[in-house]
Each structure stands twice: as structure tokens, then as C-alpha cells.
């Protein structure tokens, strides 16, 4: 029994280490930028504890610094995190029934934790899933703290560090592209953005997402996906 527990603990750690390699530097950049924008270090930690959504946290920094209203920030969060709505669909039967474990995992369903959870075999014990998710959020918090402490010391920030967000989106887009069976979402997105930017540059993202949803609804289903029951 203890031997088995040790093996599964090792597998939890093995699954979480690649996430740590990505999370610590990325959340450190978030903590750094947030503190440089004038926030206290503990506020960065609060954000990583309660929001825990990488891209949205990055996006929040310039919006708060510009004094934008809460409603605008909430709508932007909705847009950036919309994809998370579809993550749970493939995990419905996988997550544990215990309400604490289940709802913590739902809360912690970031891109990376989602991809780790989907690779776990069926009937993985609840504690193992929760441990992976907790470890991942732990790495995120550790990086935030490091970045916030460095940001509080540093005097002259380099221009362009916030490009980490664009690089993160580039990585996520490449991974979506790799697993896609259909190139149309890519073209629809590019055309929608072009049209939206030409019409309303201030609301280009929101309008382009609206156009993409419309296109997804109206376009015929791709041949390989006609498996509706």
C-alpha cells in the first residue's frame, strides 16, 4: 500500500513538473508587471489565489492601471476565458464526486491543469487529481510571489516584458492548431478580426468573437466531425 502510494505520489510530481517550468516564469512576469504598475505585492498574491487565470491576469494589469471600470474588466475576462467553458465537457465523468474535490478542480481548471487532467487514466483517485491541481496552483503562487518581490525592488523596467502574454497566446494557438482537424476556425478568426478592426477598432476583439460564433453556427459541419447522435 505505502509502496503504491509512493509510486502515485511520484507520478503526481512527474505530471506537475512541466507545468512548474511554465508557470513559475510566467506568473513571475505577472507579479513583476503588476507591482511595477503600482500594486502592492500582496494584491498580486490575492489575484493568483482567487482569479487564477493566466491570460486574464496579464490583461488586467494595463486595464487597472488605466482605471477602466469593473464591468469592462469583467467583460474582457469573459472573452479571454470563454474557452474554459468547453473544458469541463470532456471531464464530466472524470472528476471526483466529493464536492470539495470536485469544485476545487472546477475552479482550478486552467489550460495546463485541464491538459494534465485529461491525460490521467480513468479511475484515477480523487486525491491524486486534487494534488496535481493544488501543486500547479502552488507553482503559480510561487512565481507570482517571486515576481512581485523582484518588481518591488527593480527601478527601471525593460520595455516589452508584457510581450510574454502575446507569446503565451502564440503557444496556445499553436497547440490548438496542432490538435485541430479543420483549418476554418483559423481563417474565420483572421477574417473576422480584419472586418471588426476596420469597422470598430475599439471593440475589435469582442466583435470578432461575435462574428466567429456566428460563422461557427452558420458554416456546414466539417466532414470529419459529422458524428452527432
Amino acid at each position: 500500500m505505502s509502496e503504491q502510494t509512493r509510486t502515485s505520489f511520484k507520478s503526481v510530481l512527474t505530471l506537475s513538473v512541466p507545468v512548474a517550468m511554465g508557470y513559475i516564469p510566467l506568473s513571475a512576469v505577472f507579479g513583476f508587471l503588476f507591482v511595477q504598475a503600482g500594486a502592492p505585492w500582496w494584491l498580486a498574491m490575492v489575484c493568483s489565489v482567487i482569479v487564477y487565470a493566466g491570460a486574464a491576469q496579464f490583461m488586467m494589469v494595463p486595464m487597472l492601471a488605466a482605471g477602466l471600470p469593473v464591468a469592462t474588466i469583467a467583460v474582457a475576462t469573459l472573452v479571454v476565458n470563454l474557452r474554459h467553458m468547453f473544458y469541463g465537457l470532456s471531464l464530466l465523468h472524470k472528476l471526483p464526486r466529493n464536492p470539495w474535490a470536485r469544485w476545487y478542480l472546477v475552479f482550478a481548471l486552467t489550460d495546463e491543469t485541464y491538459s494534465v487532467l485529461t491525460t490521467l487514466p480513468a479511475h484515477t483517485p480523487a486525491w491524486q487529481m486534487v494534488s496535481v491541481a493544488l501543486l500547479n496552483q502552488g507553482w503559480w503562487l510561487l512565481g507570482t510571489l517571486l515576481g512581485a518581490l523582484i518588481g518591488a525592488q527593480a527601478q527601471v523596467p525593460l520595455v516589452g516584458l508584457d510581450f510574454a502574454l502575446a507569446a503565451l497566446f502564440a503557444v496556445l494557438a499553436v497547440e490548438q492548431w496542432r490538435s485541430a482537424h479543420d483549418a476554418r476556425p483559423l481563417w474565420v478568426a483572421l477574417l473576422s478580426y480584419g472586418a471588426a478592426y476596420a469597422l470598430m477598432p475599439q471593440q475589435a476583439l469582442l466583435m470578432a468573437i461575435g462574428l466567429s460564433v456566428l460563422a461557427a453556427t452558420l458554416l456546414p459541419a466539417p466532414p470529419c466531425a459529422q458524428t452527432h447522435t
Binding site: G160, A167, A189, A216
Partner: protein, 106 residues
């Protein structure tokens, strides 16, 4: 300067929105799984939204950059090529950001 009370309100709203989105399938499982439109959106939107977010962020950076969009395009291309061939998110993000910082600070 960031005002702490309004930052806290914004974070609470962001936390509620994010948790709500992640919880939707678990609250509306039956309806969602049997709805073909939801399944189609679930297949179509992730790639479309990631592409939009990438383009939107690049356009935002390029508008703040007086020297035009070349630094943004080069750094994004580097991150994407590295990610496609090496599959190491950390390497791709660090290399893309480093190239961008170097290009912008010279």
C-alpha cells in the same frame, strides 16, 4: 497607480466570471451534451478564440510601438516556430519575449 479597493472589486468580478465559465458544463451537463450546436462551438471556438487573442494582443503591442509591427511579428513568429517544432511552452515564451525585449530596447 493602481487603486487597491477598485483592484479588489475587479478581481472579485474576474474570479466570479472565470469560475462561472469553468463550472458551466458541470451545471448544465445534460443540456450541453445533447445540443449539437454546443458541440460544434466547442470544436470550432478554441482555435478561433486563441487566434483572435493572439492577433489582438499583437495589434495592441504594435500600436504602442512607434517603429511599426516588425518586432511583434518577428517575436511571435519565433515563439510559434519554436512551439511547433520543440513543444516546450517555456522555451517558446521566453525566447519570443526575450527577442521582443531586445528589439524594443535597441
Amino acid at each position: 497607480m493602481i487603486d487597491t479597493p477598485s483592484a479588489l472589486w475587479a478581481m472579485l468580478a474576474m474570479a466570479a466570471v472565470t469560475f462561472g465559465l469553468r463550472a458551466v458544463p458541470f451545471l448544465a451537463a445534460r443540456w450541453l451534451r445533447h445540443h449539437p450546436l454546443v458541440q460544434r462551438l466547442g470544436r470550432f471556438l478554441p482555435l478561433a478564440i486563441m487566434t483572435l487573442l493572439l492577433v489582438h494582443t499583437l495589434v495592441g503591442s504594435a500600436r504602442d510601438n512607434p517603429h511599426g509591427p516588425w518586432a511583434e511579428l518577428a517575436a511571435a513568429a519565433l515563439a510559434m516556430v519554436l512551439q511547433w517544432f520543440k513543444r516546450q511552452p517555456l522555451l517558446s515564451i521566453l525566447a519570443g519575449t526575450a527577442l521582443y525585449v531586445v528589439l524594443r530596447n535597441n
